[in-house]
Symmetry: C2
DNA sequence: CGTAAAGTCAAGTAGTTGCTTCACTATACG
DNA sequence: CGTATAGTGAAGCAACTACTTGACTTTACG
C-alpha cells in the first residue's frame, strides 16, 4: 500500500502533518479536522485522501460522518528507514559532547 | 535551515533517497553519484541542490570536483518528529504480540 | 597554449500539486 | 414529506516538479 515515496510526500505538507497531530488526540470527523484549518472542507478532504492512500490514516464511515484515525505502521516504516542514518547523528552528537567536555575542563 | 516541509519533500523521491544511501558509504562526487542513476548529470545535480537546500547533504568544492556528504542533523529532526507517533505503533505491535501469544496457548 | 573533465545555469516541457467553486449523494431530523 | 448536515466528485487554475538539451565556467593535464 504505502510506498516510502507516498509516505514522505504525504508528510511533506504542513497541513497534513497538522492533521496527523490532531489525530494524536483520538479520532475525529472530517469537519472537526477542517474547523482548525483556513481551508475548504473539500481541501481538507483532498489532504485526507492523500494521507489515506499513503496508508497513514484510516477513514471509517459511520452514519453520515467519516471518522478518521491514525494508522501507525507506515509511520513506523518511515522511522525504520531513518534509523539507517542514526549512526551519523549519534556520532555528530558525540563529537559535540566531546567538545563541550573539553570546554568544561 | 531545513524546514520539515523541505526535509520530507526531499525524502519523498526515490532517486534522492538512493543518493543518501550511496552517501552512507562515505562521501562521493556528483559524477560518482550520477553513474548509478539512469539520468543526466544535470538531473542528479538538481536532486543534490534539493538535498542541499533541505540541509541533508553538504557539498564541498575541491579542485574541479564537488564532494558530497550526509549532514545528519536534519534527518534527526525528522526522526524526532516521527517519535511523537511511536506510542501508536508500539501499542499496535503489543496488540499483535498479545494475539500471537493467545494463539500459542 | 589547446583540450578534456566536472559541474552549473537557463530555458523548455510534460506531468503533478494544492486549492477553489459548483454540483451531487447520503444520512439525519422536524 | 422537506430541509439541513457531512462529505465526495469533477473541473479548472496557478504554481511547482522532474527531467532534458545546449551553452557556459572552472579546473586539470598534455
Amino acid at each position: 500500500m504505502g510506498s516510502l515515496d507516498q509516505t514522505f510526500h504525504a508528510l511533506g505538507d504542513e497541513t497534513r502533518r497538522t492533521i496527523l497531530a490532531q489525530l494524536l488526540n483520538g479520532e475525529a470527523s472530517v469537519s472537526e479536522l477542517a474547523n482548525q484549518h483556513d481551508m475548504t472542507l473539500t481541501g481538507v478532504s483532498n489532504h485526507l485522501r492523500v494521507l489515506n492512500e499513503a496508508g497513514l490514516v484510516r477513514v471509517e464511515k459511520r452514519g453520515r460522518t467519516r471518522h478518521c484515525r491514525i494508522e501507525p505502521m507506515v509511520l513506523k516504516e518511515a522511522s525504520d528507514w531513518l534509523d539507517d542514518y542514526r549512526c551519523f547523528w549519534v556520532r555528530q552528537l558525540d563529537n559535540m559532547a566531546h567538545v563541550l567536555k573539553g570546554i568544561d575542563e
